[in-house]
Symmetry: C2
Subunit: 342 residues, 2 copies
């Protein structure tokens, strides 16, 4: 994969799937490993754990571990597979808890754990997944993985808490938004990259830069994801558009629209965000087009992508650099898809 | 404390408070340490974390760490304080999540986190407390603490899940009940004792026996606690009696009553447990008296206490042995209080 993908003359990949195609043996090893982990759970909850260890997601975080730890031979080492499992289990646990809070029925076109097992069991099941992730983290020779992952998990939770507290509130600044996505998304992207690089034994300065790449890619990705809630294709992203808006979550597109709207319209939109009036998705989409919200938000994505790329600029010869750089290309391509014919 | 308490001629202590009196410097150190930890949380959630790090509980688990790690000089070492903080934070996190699931408004005479911050924030806050506990666990020189605590946490969650799944169901055997309390309560008692002994550098065989003591004390304590839900003093235990019964939780007292009741009455009681009929607490208490349920359950407590004591029988010269043994005396005394004039 390394040779083909880092060929500068080839067209840049358009989808995460294209970049991840070279990770098939890695993801297969991860699947096997995760399935084996089910046996570590107490017999009474194995079936539930197995249900949550869903293998249908994009698995961006494990991919970051593998790509950041990429060596010349491109083989998935047992350590990388375990680290990938740790970050994926943390992510799956947060999804289980998110779906309780969002009262969501479906995720990836099937019942959420909360719907299938009840929200009470889902709270505990998420806890069990978290615990098992940390249990795996404790199997590394040093404390570092446990240390990083537990702190990271706390940050992800803090980000989600801040987001929850801000729901339906207009007292949210751009700084608040950045802080929330930095904690809830970028942090685990950062740690995924850190762990991959760290476990591959590269120099500490490169580990730091790869981690910084991960953080900014994470911010860019979350802004993209928030844009997709307005501009996405429901079938492709597998969820109803406008759910953030409807739940009172002020993401960057809405924030930019608020900044650009005239006073009277802004007041009306605030009423919708606060839940005092029903949301008018079609009207707001029309206004977003009118005020060119997409372009402004896209600029932010572009800036974060560039910051991510700059983090790796000094390390062109390191195998992960080119591979990780492709993720930036994919994100650019995905942004172009969002901006396509509606 | 050591000298006074292990004096065999003194009257055995009657309350946990009496045994814990000698732990005042330890608990003060723990309080300071826990309060300092609040600063480690993200600024936005510090106030919430501070609220959850409640210092009013009995702190049995930290006490087990301190007593199990007791040395001749009886000083609280930094390592013991940290280990005590880890198990207390795990316990507090489970309480935060328990209160969401039980829809409880009050705990220790003040609002639960779920009521104060909303259940959504409480789910995440519990997660953040868990994560921070593991983050502290990762600060020990070796992976062992992280390893033990994360596995233990998963077991506690598994126990709670099994208990939740069994609610309102009559398909629960005595084995099921034992399994549930072994996971949800005894496991963290066991690990608290393990960590205390382990960190004090005693021989592995003694560590194992202290851990075994903790497990059986935990089982005895949970049966006692389940009895208190029927026989306790509402003011003293700080909660309404019969809440387990009302929520369809079949604990040992109810199980014994079911075994002893004639067929027709058993069917009526099952209707109440399953929630198809309102619970008749007074009537069931009367039947418990008639069929001497207390005595049967008390026998189980007694057996577990004896198993716990037996675990330490070979180690009379070790300082923790006498101190831990006092906890058994307290539990016996507390059982006698429950059995007192109603």
């Amino acid at each position: 994969m390394n040779r083909v993908r880092s060929d500068a003359t080839a067209a840049p990949p358009q989808t995460f799937g294209a970049v991840f195609a070279g990770l098939k043996p890695h993801m297969a090893a991860l699947d096997r490993f995760l399935r084996e982990q089910v046996q570590a759970f107490e017999p009474e909850i194995r079936e539930m754990a197995d249900y949550c260890i869903d293998t249908s997601g994009k698995r961006i975080r494990p991919a970051l571990v593998f790509l950041s730890g990429w060596k010349a031979d491109g083989q998935p080492t047992a350590e990388l597979v375990k680290a990938a499992a740790v970050v994926e289990l943390v992510h799956l646990a947060t999804l289980v808890h998110d779906d309780i809070m969002d009262d969501a029925d479906l995720r990836r076109n099937r019942d959420t754990a909360a719907r299938k097992f009840g929200s009470t069991a889902a709270v505990l099941l998420g806890d069990a997944l978290f615990s098992h992730a940390l249990h795996l983290a404790a199997q590394f020779p040093t404390n570092e993985v446990c240390h990083m992952v537990s702190e990271s998990t706390r940050k992800v939770c803090a980000g989600e808490i801040v987001q929850t507290m801000r729901r339906g509130s207009m007292h949210i600044s751009r700084e608040d938004y950045w802080r929330i996505i930095d904690l809830k998304t970028a942090e685990l992207f950062r740690v995924s990259c850190f762990l991959g690089a760290r476990l591959s034994g590269v120099t500490p300065a490169y580990v730091d830069d790869v981690a910084r790449f991960g953080r900014h890619l994470g911010i860019a990705y979350q802004i993209y994801d928030d844009l997709a809630d307005f501009y996405g294709d429901e079938k492709r992203i597998g969820k109803t558009l406008g759910t953030d808006f409807a739940s009172g979550k002020v993401t960057l597109p809405l924030q930019v629209l608020l900044e650009k709207l005239p006073e009277s319209e802004r007041a009306a939109l605030i009423e919708e965000i606060c839940g005092r009036q029903p949301t008018q998705m079609a009207k707001r989409m029309q206004q977003m087009a009118q005020y060119e919200v997409f372009g402004t938000v896209a600029e932010s994505v572009q800036q974060e992508i560039e910051t991510a790329e700059a983090a790796l600029a000094n390390w062109p010869e390191q195998p992960p650099s080119a591979l990780l750089g492709q993720l930036c290309e994919v994100l650019r391509a995905q942004m172009a898809v969002l901006n396509g014919p509606l």
